[in-house]
Symmetry: C2
Subunit: 184 residues, 2 copies
């Protein structure tokens, strides 16, 4: 198992599609279906991205999720933290204070400052975070757009257009349609 969960992978792929889709609002179900992944799994990720201010949900027939700002201003670090909750690399339990020689009363020199092992871990974590902070969602979207043939963008738009048109033909009970983020 990797350090980061599959939620990070799924969340990043969904956000990449929102970046590619420009200003179109997409529901979490549409994003899941477009990628052939579990809609239930994807639906659990979006409230975290919304809470972190990365996406906003709109309701109504054309509702769904949109990025709250340009993909060039959304870093991969923000996405990881939104989904993983700023999980630290290392959790220091202050083992140094328990040394048998201190007999339960660790002297000041033994516990002052950050533990040397913890400090080295914080430095490594910082290096990782700086790398993730330096990459944006726009960088990712650009790489995909560069690889794809010219026609792919049109194919995506046609697929999304068809899904959007299908929304209009689906009759919904009024109470459900009035809920915020109905399509999200």
């Amino acid at each position: 198992m990797a350090h980061l969960t599959a939620s990070v992978e799924y969340g990043m792929h969904c956000l990449m599609w929102l970046a590619v889709a420009d200003d179109a609002a997409l529901s979490s179900r549409e994003l899941a279906e477009l990628q052939g992944v579990s809609p239930a799994f994807v639906a659990k990720i979006f409230p975290k991205l919304e809470k972190a201010g990365i996406v906003a949900a709109s309701n109504g027939l054309r509702g769904g999720y949109r990025l709250t700002r340009s993909a060039a201003r959304i870093s991969l670090l923000e996405i990881v933290d939104a989904i993983e909750g700023d999980k630290p690399l290392f959790d220091c339990q202050e083992i140094r204070s328990r040394c048998a020689l201190f007999d339960g009363r660790p002297p000041r020199w033994a516990t002052q400052g950050v533990c040397a092992i913890h400090a080295a871990m914080l430095k490594a974590e910082q290096a990782m975070r700086e790398s993730l902070a330096a990459t944006t969602l726009a960088d990712i979207a650009r790489t995909v757009e560069r690889k794809a043939p010219a026609a792919f963008d049109g194919d995506v738009r046609a697929w999304l257009g068809a899904r959007n048109a299908a929304r209009g033909t689906q009759r919904k009970p009024r109470r459900r349609a009035a809920r915020t983020g109905d399509h999200a």
Copy 2:
């Protein structure tokens, strides 16, 4: 919960004590008692460190674990990998190949090279690994030695000496004493 487990923290602290103890062999029980942590937990970490060639076990009355080389030649990255098993930061499930538009037959352009998201994660992981590779066990031991008062080194040696002397007074059945790593 942190990305790295408590085993990494316990393992690093034990190895730091082995670095401080110079060439003295210490059992995992002695290392655990010196630090006031669970002997059973520490005992599970050492076979991994031994397998990775970071420590070697010797048997007999003065037996125990020793570092296999100078602490200046043991990086924190080696220790993390020995204990965590080179766990990746991110596990790419190749979601890109499942796109609904490909209808189960992803084109070559869509799957060639590393996925852009995976590539960004590998870069961040590499930054973290380089930072851990640049810090050695000797760096950690030096920081602790710098903080501790001059008398502490003598106190540690006295504690270890007393524990070592106590080994001689403990009568052991011959079969147990003959086992490799009896004191490890």
